[in-house]
Amino acid sequence: MKNPSSVLILLLMAFGSILYAGESPDSLFIAGKTHLAGAVNSWDITELMAARSYFERLADAGKMEWLSRYYTGLASNRIVQYYLGQNDKKQARRFVDDAIGQLERSIELKDSFAESYALLSNLLGTKIGLKPILGMRLGAKSGVLMSKAMQLDPNNPRVLLISGQNAFYTPKMFGGGKNKSMEKLTRAVACFDTATVQNPVLPEWGHEEAHAWLGRLYAEQENFPEAEAHYLKALEINPGYGWVKFMLFPELRKKQESEK
């Protein structure tokens, strides 16, 4: 093994044999992440479902099950948002429960990953939105999960993004409100700007989403220049980002024109 070329050949042969077997764990997750990001951009339900199915198979195959479950839950969460946009509450309820189950399992397998707690907290909030009476039981639980996420990884940009989203929907008297949301989202954007990818299999989503949410808040405050700046930033990060491109930006333009 003294010859470095033989080492390289062996390594590449090993890589080849992995390809023969069909899967490299890293490449599988990267492929799945790319698939899900594309589905979110196109906001196509078949693509979102396909991404969810892909991660479910990864989980069944035992490929880093905690992470596969996290991504399955994330994909189901996107499906929930899709169905809520379609006003199909029945389907939304089905996938909320699925996403909650996936994330609970993920936490059971790895209880130190902050993003699972944050996403689960967000999903409980969605479940309360679908059935307000559950707020009495799940509201406090959602808060506890978010506190746990912040405790584990206080500078995680996705945890801050979700925390900002939760604050957006939480009344001021329960520690939420628009100002709180803006404060958290601004911090999230700052953390996204300085974040570096340490492991390509881990989640990377959310940067453009944080700008979109901030833009939305500024638009609500009728601070249109700031809103536009954030929307443009979101599109700079992800030029195909459908939510900003086809919904938020046109809405902003309408508001700006009506102001004139």
């Binding site: 033989s6 390289l8 050949i9 069909g22 899967e23 599988l28 198979r57 195959a61 808060g143 008297m173």
Partner: protein, 718 residues
């Protein structure tokens, strides 16, 4: 460097070759379709080979197709949210193809079947919610009591201001109450002949409630009219401390999950003292001892495996009361002391893939001292019970249940009782009693739930019971059916025979009759149910026939010569629209009985012709919530003179209640509920009965305890 490039090219060649080899292997082509049990295609189902990524997702038509490269035995998996994971083994033959049809079953074998039972209301949180714990608390005028909330449902008669469940022309003793499968023979606090003032169990101890006002299944016995079945809570999701303080009660609760959600403990304690409540609200009654109670509960749930649950529920409650007796002939006080204990051990396990086993063993004890004038009696009941059932559900269309029960009841009664019932005059003639009774009951049932290919469901069953004192055995056939007319409209029907033994003391040779047999009723029910999203509407008609009822007899004390009937119509509507939620129920009842002291066919005291309840709740801004309710009931029958059995009626009953609650978080992590209620907002004094002097020349009205009254308090959960 050159060498590195060559090596890299060589390695890439090998890699590409290897990959190409893998891709060019002749594959095994799998195609087919996925559907539900009704044959409807399921889109977006995930079909794949276990432990691989080889698979596909179904199209709108439910069809799928993919090629897999594995050889030998392969496990094909199909998942679809809300359905049970489907697995099957396939023999892979490279180069060949196979077509499979996958039928997905609904998720959980323990889930309740889709059958709509006639006359039943389920309050399990996840399905078909009609009445939840929060509904109980938020309904104005229910005093956060489950039994009072159940009384807002159709088919219930408003006989007095207590919690007694008088169901469709049946006496309060004809409704059986169960907790986690165990029969509760004394489910009321401050027990009285018409039930009691409140239910024993706090609604927050309960996970779900099933109530049936008739036509109930063969699983339930010991009741002629209705069933209330409660299920205690499972493992708590998180550690919670709860403290509640109100005008008449203080409570504390603690919930602790342990061992990663496999073990959970819940503890709660309540102290109730109504002195301040009665004094502040100027009560119409005179209490020598204000009603007070204490109860404590400890619940342990353990899940040793994913399919097994063991639950130990322990409960103790004590209450006492001293109140003036309304009677024109004499003046005396009634004193009551009650004590109730329950220990119930329940186990549920999925023994095989499709067989669910449930078993429970329970011990309950009850002691009551009652004193009023000449009456001075102590009653002690002890009930030992064991129950086991097996449920076989191979698919969503069929379920078979079979079960057996053993009950041993011991009753001790000692003291002085008046010779004439309810004549508590200190000078009235009386007799001494010191006796004990033992009654054993054995029962078995078999029942199936079957969803026919024509879309309607049938639940036929048979229940057999044997009672040891009478030596009688009854065989009760029962059947219920639901015919869906559309996705949201269905017709329901039920028929059944029911038997109930008299309480053991009625078999006493001196004050009862050892030759008594079982009492019997039969129910025929037909109805229409409409359920869609946030709207529920039901209408039901029923006819009940009673036979072998107890009838007082001058020579042998009691016989089984009593009989009667009850018929009526029940309506129920519930709708939620935005911030508003409303429900209304109405019951029309016509009943006659020859029973107990009614020597001819006449209205029993619970023959309340019209009962109506309307409830509206609204979620206001700033986390405020308000509700109001209105109840109306026809006047209760009373006997105005000798031989004139219940020929007159007291004025109609009417009551309006208002509640307001506010949810706030003072510390960020707590949930505080502050509430206030106005009961009997119209300040109407209702009359429930008249107590006559022995010669019927004078009478005293039995009135409601309060005019307009106020209640307030708060609950903090941390």
């Amino acid at each position: 460097m050159n060498r590195y490039i060559h090596c890299t090219i060589a390695a890439l060649f090998i890699t590409v070759y290897a990959y190409g080899f893998a891709q060019n292997k002749p594959g095994f082509h799998i195609s087919g379709s996925v559907m539900d049990t009704k044959g409807r295609p399921l889109a977006y189902a995930n079909v794949f080979i276990a432990q691989t990524l080889q698979g596909s997702m179904t199209k709108e038509s439910g069809e799928f197709s993919f090629v897999c490269t594995g050889t030998g035995d392969l496990t094909l998996i199909c998942t679809y949210i809300g359905y049970r994971k489907h697995t099957r083994t396939l023999k892979s033959r490279p180069g060949s193809s196979i077509s499979v049809t996958i039928v997905m079953d609904t998720q959980d074998i323990t889930a309740k079947p889709v059958t709509v039972y006639a006359s039943s209301f389920s309050a399990a949180d996840e399905k078909g919610v009609t009445l939840t714990s929060m509904d109980v608390v938020r309904t104005p005028g229910t005093a956060a009591d489950l039994f009072w909330a159940v009384k807002t449902l159709p088919g219930m008669q408003q006989v007095d201001e207590g919690a007694g469940l008088f169901v469709r022309g049946g006496d309060v003793s004809e409704t059986a109450v169960f907790l986690d499968g165990a029969l509760i023979i004394h489910p009321y606090k401050y027990e009285s002949p018409t039930g009691g003032y409140f239910g024993t169990f706090n609604p927050f101890l309960l996970k779900g409630t099933y109530f049936s006002s008739g036509g109930f299944s063969a699983r339930y016995g010991h009741a002629l009219s209705g069933v209330l079945s409660m299920e205690s809570r499972d493992i708590p999701g998180r550690k919670t401390i709860g403290i509640g303080i109100g005008l008449a009660a203080e409570s504390a609760a603690l919930e602790i999950p342990a061992k990663n959600g496999k073990l959970g403990f819940s503890f709660s304690g309540n102290i109730s003292n109504t002195k301040m409540l009665f004094e502040l609200n100027r009560c119409t009654k005179t209490f020598s001892r204000y009603p007070a109670s204490f109860d404590v509960n400890f619940n342990t749930v353990y899940k040793p495996g994913p399919n097994t649950k063991i639950k130990l529920f322990m409960f103790r409650q004590d209450d006492k009361i001293g109140v003036e007796v309304d009677d024109p002939d004499y003046s005396t006080q009634f004193y009551g002391n009650g004590s109730n204990q329950l220990f119930n051990l329940q186990a549920v396990t999925l023994a095989a893939k499709h067989i669910l086993i449930k078993a429970n063993a329970a011990v309950s004890t009850y002691a009551n001292d009652s004193r009023a004038g000449v009456l001075d009696i102590t009653t002690k009941d002890k009930l030992l019970q064991a129950r086991a059932s097996a449920e076989y559900q191979p698919n969503a269309d069929f379920c078979l249940r079979i079960g057996a029960e053993l009950l041993g009841m011991r009753t001790d009664i000692a003291g002085m009782v008046p010779l004439t019932r309810e004549d508590y005059d200190p000078a009235a003639p009386c007799m001494k009693i010191d006796t004990d009774y033992a009654s054993d009951r054995t029962a078995g049932f078999i029942e199936t739930e079957y969803l026919t290919p024509f879309g309607f469901s049938l639940v036929p069953g048979l229940r057999i019971e044997h009672e040891s004192i009478s030596g009688q055995t009854s065989a009760d056939p029962r059947i219920s059916a639901a015919f869906p007319l559309s996705g949201s409209l269905s017709v329901t029907a039920a028929w059944g025979v029911y038997h109930q033994p008299p309480r053991p003391e009625y078999f006493d040779p001196y004050i009862g009759n050892p030759g008594l047999g079982l009492q019997k009723s039969s129910h025929i029910i037909g109805g229409l149910a409409y359920t869609r999203d946030e709207t529920i509407f039901r209408i039901e008609c029923y006819y009940k026939k009673y036979s072998s009822l107890l009838l007082e007899d001058p020579s042998v004390n009691y016989t089984n010569d009593g009989h009667g009937y009850a018929s009526g119509i029940d309506l129920f509507a519930k709708h939620r629209m935005g911030r508003f939620s409303a429900w209304a129920s109405y019951s029309y009842l016509h009943t006659r009985r020859k029973w107990m002291d009614l020597r001819e066919l006449a209205s029993p005291y619970f023959d309340i012709t019209h009962n109506a309840t309307g409830v509206i709740t609204v979620d206001l801004p700033r986390n405020l919530s308000a509700g109001c309710s209105f109840r109306y009931a026809s006047g209760k029958p009373y006997t105005p003179g000798p031989g004139m059995y219940n020929t007159e009626r007291v004025p109609p009953y009417a009551k309006a209640d208002i509640t307001l609650s506010w949810i706030h978080s003072f510390l960020g992590s707590d949930m505080t509920i502050v509430y206030a209620a106005v009961s009997n907002a119209l300040n109407r004094i209702n009359i429930f009965d008249y107590k006559y002097s022995a010669d019927f020349s004078r009478r005293a009205p039995v009135k409601s305890s309060f005019g307009r009254s106020f209640y307030f308090g708060f609950q903090v959960n941390i």
